[in-house]
Amino acid sequence: MSGIRVLVGCKRVIDYAVKIRVKPDKSGVVTDGVKHSMNPFDEIAVEEAVRLKEKKIVSEIVAVSCGPTQCQEVLRTAMAMGADRAIHVEVDPATYDHLQPLHVAKILSKVAQEEKVDLVLTGKQAIDDDANQTGQMIAALLDWPQATFASKVEKTNGELKVLREIDGGLETIKVRLPAVLTTDLRLNQPRYATLPNIMKAKKKPLVKKTPADYGVDVTPRQKVLKVEDPPVRQAGAKLASVEELVAKLRDAGLIPT
């Protein structure tokens, strides 16, 4: 068996450590001059693909990212970590502001078909919009089985055995390939890209495409009306006694009178 082919979705997001600022006109958040990096969940997806390749289960890893030119940075990171090549689906910044999970899912499912991959791996969600939709939508569009929130993946002949973290505990499911898999936090801990691999990644092929190349219409279907800061936490008060506390709770309607 020649091993399975994997497509890994890599989103470029505002770095997790950055303090997010809302634009004064409330149209979105400030991204200019702000540090960006690969969505941490996607980093876990890349790591998993690379580990599967090291176990000779995977034969080729293709990284894909949709967005403005700077997305190539995260693709280079993916290739430095071990992806074999990359596809950058260029979306201009203005359009990208309104790009929605369905658009990305349509593009990625077309890429998956064109590249004849057996597995689509993505983070379970991106830390910027927290949509948690893309993986599931790709599965629906391709009519492939999905294994979301994976925290352990094993290959058994022609199938993937996936451990999922659910509220009640752990669930083990089997999916037949081709399939879509989204990664949870505890699946693995991504490696550092080594300096020699960063250098080698520069020579790996990165192909530029547009949504039109895949016949995907990226006209927005939703309109963002307003983006606001979360409410600032109100100052509390110190109470002298339990009675006072109960009275306050009663006043606030939090316990029955």
Binding site: D15, Y16, A17, V18, I20, G33, V34, K35, S37, P40, E73, R76, T77, A80, K124, Q125, I127, D128, D130, N132, T148, F149, E165, I166, D167, G168, L185, R186, Q189, Y192, A193, T194, L195, P196, I198, M199, K202, P230
Partner: protein, 417 residues
Amino acid sequence: MALRFRQRRTAAQICHILHRNLAPRQKRCILTGSSIDPAHGLGDDQRQIQQVALDFAQNELAPNMQQWDAEEIFPVESLRKAASLGFGAVYCSDQFGGTGLSRLDASVIFEALATGCCSTTAYISIHNMCAWMIDKFASDDLRSKWIPKLASMEAFASYCLTEPGAGSDAASLITSAKKDGQDYVLNGAKAFISGAGKSDVYVVMCRTGDQGAKGVSCILVEKGSPGLSFGKKEKKVGWNSHPASIVSFDDCRVPQRNLVGVEGQGFSIAMRGLNGGRINVASCSLGAALAAIQHARGHMKVRKQFGKTLDSFQYLQFRLAEMATQLVASRLMVRNAATSLDNKDPNAVALCSMAKLFATEECFKICNDAMQIFGGYGYLKDYPVQQYMRDTRVHCILEGTNEIMRLLVARDILTER
């Protein structure tokens, strides 16, 4: 249920989870886009390399730096982990396993690593300097023997120039190497040797000829060579994550093939190594100063006196602005000097000396000022600023004292051309 629950989590919560679960990750301390951002002016590749170094510093070095300092631990595992990413032989050619990057890249890397632990990074930088001297000047036999091991830090290296009686006047060194059959027999002692006892190979400058610089040769001495011994471990103000002691040679026998370059070339090799070493140690100062500024800035935003936070006092605002300015000026000089080495600029010696003089002094002042901003807390070992101050102090003394730096600059200026 699980899905709905997960969808409700905000990015902040996810970040919180990330911090909790991904090793002992501290909050990444970044001032991206600000005027002191160390990524300013770098190309994409350098930024990517820098990010790896910053991540490594934050995840692997910073959480341990205080313990390594207090308990004087030489962190072998962490060093090898750093080497596995390519930090062991950064500017050695890739022919025998070096990473093959430039001096400027190395400076960017050492600055980034030093934000996590200045002392450990300083050792890495010395190791790199030794590896480069071997890679640049030694025979292919020695290169193929040592460079792969040094690049992976399976073997550690130490630089041995200074003697108890020969410091700034390095060319007056008296450790001798005399030919005897197929060997050299070394006698003498080297002082303040970083890594002594832990290192596997010692790059020793010793006298094979007449008085003066021309009589000096560079010889590799392996740990375990007969007649090689180490003095008691020195007690230092900073730089505590690697040992230093006297290295003694008593009829120490090494094969003649361990000669690096040719006889009489040793002093030149030592100085060529030090040019890079000066950039390296100055880069370590930059990283410590950057970290100190970040800590001071953080403290100013939360510490309240006279009913307001420290960042609202103009004196401290101005002080912080001066620290930032000193840092950026230092960084520009260091990177300029690194570029001059990359370009084999005839003025590289003076430019490296100026950069080392300026950056190590200014960055020490920055760390010291950061400590002042912390007030009484700054003097406590619970807070890392004092460690940056202690670790950077020695940068004004070693790799050529800053007085020798002035001498080298003056010599350059006064030369008739």
